[in-house]
């Protein structure tokens, strides 16, 4: 941040108590939008936690056997069954897109319009690939294996219900992220963030901090995926 008075603030725990005790802002030098995104993500964490806790509770209490994930999520490559192959690729793509997002944020702060736009675009493509592979996975489970939200041939019917609901909810998050990434890639390339062009809906000035805010959301969606991956595919 550009405000020179912030450099003089004490650090460490002392700094924390002096920040909380001070006037005007509690998180010094933190942009409003960025603070909002953090609080939103905290709230969203509770949404996903409720989903996952519900899943764990039901999985622990159903009487029918739970389907064996390595079998259900396996792919057959040249006649050889490979467990978790698609999921491994999906996870790799999504985590890589977090890397490109981090680079986009870096170039955003350097006000490097072209590189920033490029990496936002790459992140969007990574996200789109992930959603595409998820669509493939869903269609394989639905049309090939006969898994439905109300039942499946492998065991407890809640397997399909929780799987489609939670990955669907996460996939919706990714899709919303992808839409925003494409919009923002266009905005960066057009130079909105350099000229401070006003937003069409909000009429507020554009700023490169928006890239970081979008990045926070994107990293969060990735982190949630790590938990979903662990709880659905590895448990």
């Amino acid at each position: 941040m550009t405000d020179p008075t912030l450099d003089k603030l004490p650090g460490g725990f002392k700094g924390m108590s002096s920040d909380i005790g001070s006037d005007q802002t509690t998180f010094k030098g933190v942009n409003w939008g960025k603070a909002m995104m953090w609080i939103f993500l905290l709230s969203d964490t509770f949404v996903f936690s409720c989903f996952l806790v519900a899943y764990m509770k039901v999985r622990a209490s159903v009487t029918e056997p739970w389907p064996y994930p390595s079998e259900v999520f396996g792919l057959e490559v040249f006649g050889v069954p490979v467990p978790l192959l698609l999921i491994a690729i999906m996870t790799f793509v999504l985590i890589t897109s977090s890397g490109t997002m981090a680079l986009a944020v870096k170039y955003g702060y350097e006000k490097n319009r072209k590189m920033c736009g490029l990496f936002v675009l790459l992140t969007a493509i990574g996200g789109l690939t992930f959603v595409g592979m998820q669509a493939f996975e869903w269609s394989k489970l639905i049309f090939h294996d006969g898994v439905r939200p109300w039942g499946n041939p492998f065991g407890a019917e809640q397997f399909g219900a929780f799987f489609f609901m939670i990955t669907g909810f996460h996939g919706t998050h990714v899709s919303i992220g992808v839409i925003f990434l494409f919009i923002f890639a266009r905005k960066v390339f057009r130079g909105d963030f350099d000229t401070g062009k006003r937003g069409y809906f909000t009429t507020m000035k554009s700023d490169y901090v928006a890239i970081e805010i979008l990045g926070l959301y994107w990293h969060f969606v990735d982190l949630v995926w790590v938990f979903i991956f662990a709880f659905f595919y590895l448990w």
Binding site: D3, T5, L6, K8, L9, P10, S18, D19, I20, G21, S22, D23, Q24, T25, T26, F27, K28, G29, V30, W32, G33, A35, M36, I39, F40, L42, S43, D44, F46, V47, S49, C50, F51, A54, K57, V58, S61, V62, T63, E64, P149, W150, A156, E157, Q158, G160, A161, F162, M165, F169, F201, T202, T203, M204, K205
Partner: protein, 609 residues
């Protein structure tokens, strides 16, 4: 930043400055502004000024009017219920089905669409920017979306009255499996619209709630530290944080039950045999819904109560001309109650068959909440103690709040204990308890707050005479309704029963039920005195001068009253003290506003804040 420091070097008295980098000898020093002036969108047409408006004050009024509309619907529903309970079979249209639908809609409307929306959406939007010294909420556009999402949620909820089968009749807790099974009224469309409406409400509230939290944390004016904020803001802030963390559970349970209904999943649905036939549901957990619902539902009680606590503290302080007793304790009590409210949810589920160890744990945490809550009650009473009490309508409502709240709180201690709760569970004792503690008590604060802030919003006073009529009928009437209900609960009258048939309760409770019903009709009708008062005073009320109550907080210190868009005119106010410097020894006036610099009140023994 446009306004520079107004430095006065006149005094030698040392006060502890709240500044981090400042200090020095100048006692009026306040740190310069960290953040640039807020960029505001000024509406220029009727639509952008009054309908899709981005001004938090207009949004607050929109929220209030919509919430009050739903409240009137809830009130009429309660009349229907009391009609059936007091005088059964008088009206043939009151069937058992419609009775359950009225119970359900009354509960959900009053808790979520009236109280939550009114306290956070209404008072929150109007008061937060004004009281912390901001020009508007930090994201006015998102704030506007928040209101319109709430509006759509209300439309969807009201639409359920007109779909085939009518609204859901599963009780406001919407417990599965019965909520979505045939036999429960509205199990086809009513329940779906209810779940969709709740999901929309959560989405809309999240957009508003992020605004409230960030405005309070990141957009305070110069000199406004957290510990100088009026308690109103502390209450609304903590309640908003609770809502942001508790509503996710409601959203998740709504989504899951919608899927159970629409797709035939079995999240909450166990194996069920209906009329000798096995339903397609299998292996789900109805108890899971109860846990999710009450993980939302209990913090929800405090989402309603904490803003009421905060507002009533301010009203009591202003109208008894005394500083609030134990300000810091009050703040910490609000925060601790908020934190504890996440660890008590299963006290709503003592009879659900959970392990007794759970009951032990949740009874303990529940009773611990009584400690900070009692502390608040003592502090309100000690604020009144030897204060210069103005016994106007506002103060009457505050006193009414303390009485009803203590009453409802004490029955809460009864019900928090497992052994007492089990026999009283699902009786009228529970109805009496929660209507006292989170129905009447917060309503008292809402009315007090409206009588208090009406001059700010409209520039005119509400009529005092009508206000006193309104108070006394509401207060005495509410006691006539709910006090006998405790007794009904003790003799074992169960809640949610359409009628008592030939049970022995009929003979002993029938007169009392008639009495309660008549009181309910009168109290409901008395609310129309209030609506009449509002309409009349808008036109003919006594004009209010600026800061009519001689209060200290920033909302009264705007250059124009009612405040305009942007709130504070050219310059944002600079805050030098808390909002409670009333009757300070040595001061010339009986109040010292938050913007009064220390050099102007040198002789006064003000609190160091």
């Amino acid at each position: 930043m446009s306004d520079d420091l107004n430095i006065k070097k006149s005094s030698k008295i040392k006060t502890k400055s709240s500044s981090v980098s400042g200090g020095g000898t100048d006692i009026d020093y306040v740190r310069p502004a960290e953040i640039p002036e807020q960029d505001l969108y000024h509406g220029h047409s009727f639509i952008t000024k009054w309908i899709f408006c981005q001004d938090a004050k207009v949004i607050g009024i929109q929220y209030t009017l919509t919430a009050v509309f739903t409240g009137v619907v809830g009130l009429i529903l309660s009349w229907m219920m009391r009609m059936q309970l007091g005088f059964p079979e008088l009206f043939p249209f009151l069937t058992a089905e419609s009775y359950y639908q009225f119970v359900t809609m009354h509960g959900m409307i009053m808790v979520v669409y009236l109280l939550t929306a009114l306290f956070l959406g209404g008072f929150g939007n109007y008061l937060i920017p004004l009281m912390v010294g901001a020009r508007d909420m930090v994201f006015p556009y998102v704030n506007m979306l928040s209101y319109w999402m709430f509006f759509v949620a209300v439309v969807v909820l009201m639409a359920s009255f007109f779909v085939p089968g009518g609204p859901t009749g599963s009780g406001w807790t919407l417990y599965p499996p019965q909520a979505i099974l045939e036999g429960t009224p509205g199990s086809e469309y009513g329940i779906l619209l209810m779940l969709i409406s709740l999901s929309l409400f959560v989405i809309g509230f999240t957009m508003g709630g992020l605004n409230y939290v960030i405005t309070i944390l990141q957009a305070r004016t110069r000199g406004m530290t957290l510990m100088r904020m009026p308690l109103t803001i502390w209450g609304i802030f903590t309640a908003t944080v609770l809502a942001l963390l508790a509503f996710p559970a409601l959203l998740v349970s709504s989504i899951m039950m919608t899927l159970d209904k629409v797709l035939g999943t079995s999240f909450f649905m166990p194996t069920i045999i209906k009329a000798g036939e096995l339903l397609s549901y299998d292996g789900g957990s109805p108890i899971l819904f109860q846990h999710l619902f009450w993980f939302f539902g209990h913090p929800e009680v405090y989402i309603v109560a904490l803003p009421a606590f905060g507002i009533v503290s301010d009203l009591i302080s202003v109208h008894s001309r005394k500083n609030i007793f134990g300000y810091r304790m009050m703040v910490w009590a609000i925060v601790i109650i908020g934190a504890l409210s996440f660890f008590v949810w299963a006290h709503h589920m003592y009879v659900s068959g959970m392990t007794p160890w759970f009951g032990f744990f949740f009874a303990t945490t529940t009773l611990i909440i009584a400690v900070p809550t009692a502390l608040k009650v003592y502090n309100w009473i000690l604020t009144l103690w030897r204060g210069n009490i103005r016994l106007n309508t506002v103060m009457l409502f505050c006193l009414g709040f303390i009485l009803t709240f203590v009453n409802g709180g004490i029955t809460g201690i009864f019900l928090g204990n497992v052994v007492v709760d089990v026999p009283l569970s699902d009786t009228y004792f529970v109805i009496a308890h929660f209507h006292m503690v989170m129905g009447i008590a917060p309503l008292m604060v809402i009315f007090g707050a409206i009588y208090h802030w009406f001059p700010l919003i409209t520039g005119r006073f509400l009529d005092e005479k009508l206000g006193k009529w309104h108070f006394w009928t509401t207060f005495l009437g509410a006691y006539s309704i709910y006090f006998p209900m405790h007794y009904l609960g003790f003799i074992g009258v169960p809640r949610r029963y359409f009628e008592m048939y030939d049970s022995p309760y009929v003979t002993s409770a029938v007169g009392m039920n008639e009495f309660i019903s008549i009181a309910a009709f009168i109290v409901g009708a008395a609310q129309f005195i209030f609506f009449f008062n509002v309409v009349k005073s808008l036109r003919l009320g006594k004009r209010a001068e600026k800061n009519p109550w001689k209060a200290n907080s920033l909302e009264w210190l705007t250059p124009s009253m009612p405040p305009e868009h942007g709130n504070f005119g050219e310059k944002l106010p600079v805050v030098h003290r808390w909002a409670y410097d009333y009757n300070v020894p040595g001061a010339k006036k009986d109040y010292i506003t938050q913007t009064t610099p220390p050099s102007e009140v040198l002789g006064a023994e003000v609190e160091k804040t």
